[in-house]
Symmetry: C2
Subunit: 414 residues, 2 copies
């Protein structure tokens, strides 16, 4: 009798609003193919401590999978564990492969960003060299949209939609008084400007977006920034600025560190308040007008009450695909999306080598940034608009979201 292979799923890195849609898709796919499904509690780090959850018990049916699909956070927990190289620590690899063998795992599906793909790549190579038949597959996720070798990453569309939605609402809220004022909205994005740029999607015939967008890829001088704000204030009462948390000055340092500001108390307070608060205070002091900073916070990656319907569907499909091709024999691959056309929007699902994705970072293309470095072009909108389309929400009970509780404390005996 052929042994039935199990599927083991893990989640790693920062959560997204749809990371559990990928998990739900992976579970459904495994079930459709008759494979029992286990979950790592807290990713590879948990696996090292034998923390494994029986997902056929924790998420037994379509009803619980539907709730899981719209639950934010990483249902299986997460880790930031960096796998050492096989040369440094072969014992770690042997331990992991031994655990997988004991569990009867045939396919490992790891939902994560570029660090996670590096983990998958290393484990896969080590296993192959050791003669293991276990396949290691990756499922992409990151709100930062910084993975190479694909059109976009699940998690980005929903975060982008949340950013653009909040920006359009804050614009209504902040412009009600008949005074000159500036609102600075800070988005996530330490190294890349994809989420900062998404703020520009708030511009439609029926809503208002930012006048200025600052991203890490386009360093600016504070003087040029203040000049632009000042020129705008000369012709309009309300000016809105969107800034990525990692926006940089001409010296490549964080914007609030430019011009020696880092050294004094002002700079110190700024680093506490973030770049949005810093720019608001700078505008207020230098231009003498009312200014306020708003940080959109980690809600950008967990506001599952309002996600891109398209993003959630794609996240689920990519989770399902990785498990299916893994069960079919593929290893060291990552499911991903390729754009076929912008309008009408069409993508093709495929599988790429994890080694092409591991440890690489994709920045916002320079040609999509405005000439003055303080905005994005129509090319960006053509790319990003389809990603925020469709609106999906969560399950509501008693007026608040209903989430699936994490299954910790119900780990499998090994």
């Amino acid at each position: 009798m052929a042994r039935i292979e199990k599927v083991l799923i893990g989640q790693s890195g920062g959560p997204t609003a749809v990371i559990n849609a990928s998990l739900a898709g992976a579970v459904r796919s495994a079930r459709a193919l008759g494979a029992p499904v286990l979950g790592m509690a807290h990713g590879i780090e948990g696996l090292l401590h034998d923390e494994v959850v029986d997902l056929d018990v924790a998420v037994p049916d379509d009803r619980s999978l539907d709730v899981l699909r719209s639950t934010p956070g990483s249902y299986l927990g997460s880790c930031r564990y960096k796998l050492p190289s096989p040369e440094e620590a072969p014992a770690v690899y042997d331990a992991l492969l031994g655990t997988l063998d004991r569990l009867g795992v045939g396919v490992v599906a790891y939902i994560g960003g570029n660090d996670s793909m590096d983990t998958i790549d290393k484990l896969g190579r080590y296993g192959e060299a050791a003669g293991s038949a276990i396949r290691f597959m990756g499922v992409p996720k990151t709100i930062d949209n910084d993975l190479v070798a694909q059109d976009h990453t699940p998690g980005y569309g929903s975060a982008a939609k949340f950013v653009a939605t909040c920006v359009s609402e804050l614009a209504c809220d902040a412009s009600v008084y008949p005074v000159k004022s500036v609102l600075v909205v800070e988005t996530m994005g330490r190294d890349v400007g994809w989420l900062g740029a998404a703020s520009s999607l708030a511009w439609t015939a029926g809503s208002r977006g930012p006048d200025i967008v600052l991203v890490p890829e386009a360093p600016v001088s504070l003087d040029a920034f203040l000049d632009k704000v000042s020129n705008l204030l000369a012709v309009q009462d309300f000016v809105m600025v969107a800034v990525s948390e990692g926006a940089r000055g001409l010296d490549g340092q964080p914007l609030y560190a430019e011009e020696g500001a880092r050294e004094d108390a002002f700079g110190h307070a700024a680093s506490q308040a973030g770049v949005g608060g810093f720019l608001a205070r700078l505008v207020s002091e230098r231009l003498g007008c009312k200014a306020r900073g708003v940080e959109l916070s980690t809600l950008q990656r967990c506001a599952a009450h309002v996600v891109s319907g398209r993003d959630r569907e794609e996240a689920e499909a990519l989770g399902a695909l990785a498990v299916r091709v893994g069960l079919e024999g593929r290893s060291r691959g990552m499911s991903c999306l390729a754009r076929v056309s912008d309008l009408p929007y069409e993508v093709r699902l495929g599988v790429t080598d994890v080694s092409a994705v591991a440890n690489e970072v994709r920045q916002l293309p320079g040609s999509w940034i405005a000439n003055d470095g303080m905005g994005v072009t129509a090319e960006f909108e053509r790319y990003a608009r389809p990603l925020v389309e469709g609106t999906d929400t969560c399950r509501w009970v008693d007026g608040v979201p209903w989430h699936l509780r994490t299954p910790f404390g119900e780990t499998v005996a090994l």
Copy 2:
């Protein structure tokens, strides 16, 4: 031929996510009774400068009223103008009444908080003494829920729902790593704890709320707070704290000012970062665990993409009622809600005297605060749960909210 009286509507103070639902209700009510409808641009302050909008042009039909209903911010703009007393400045009153007469206004409906009700009261009394037939009516709005003489205020339910929703999502997001950690979520509420308390509504069978709730009505010592956090961390990995921006120490000062912290750089940075950031840093330094602060920001009052359906309906009904009773002859009244029963939820719409509301502040009842001053009781939930029930959203176009643009620049020639 009897002169057709016009209705003039204004909005004042900080916006709410449903303040324009009250405006839409007021417009519909006037139209149903055959009255032309005008709007003050930027409240009473705009009226002093003859800034009046023809709402029958700007919002001509049900289609535009439906968009208005889910547009955040104050569609008519707002002001923070404090009307002087009639003794100080009778000329201001004479000017306002003269403008209203010239416009042919029979009813003024002013949507605002307790300051606005004071404005309505003063104008109404002055007009009556001067023999004017113009009626002045108030429509309540405030996310703070601090108006007396009524069960609750439109705007609160939606802000409370947003707070509880975000708290439940942030709890999922912030608890994914297997480490001891504390999340401090800061809500609005400088003088009252209604919004801070609303965070507790995140506790349901399917979602997780805060372990500690700090409100301005219950001053605490930082030592007692740290003790409680420390005790919780001894038995669980993740601790969540919700704090009203105006939470106070035992000396009645802002919490971050307690124990002399205000005097040093730490205290200074704290006042920049807000009480949430301050408490997170304090926990991190004193208890040596990971801690993060999240400020929910002005999104609490403008996130029209997710509101309490009940709140939006009540806001609309109260706008409509004020105009109707004004056209019937009532003056110096404010439409309001009285609770008939909690379960099933039932309210009665009525009209109270604005003088009962003006300048008063309603705090969270002491009996609804836990004995240790760091939580709320089941009585609070019984009161507040019905206010967040029902979920309504906005109109979505191109993946982002579609709002009605403010009508400024189209003011009426006087």
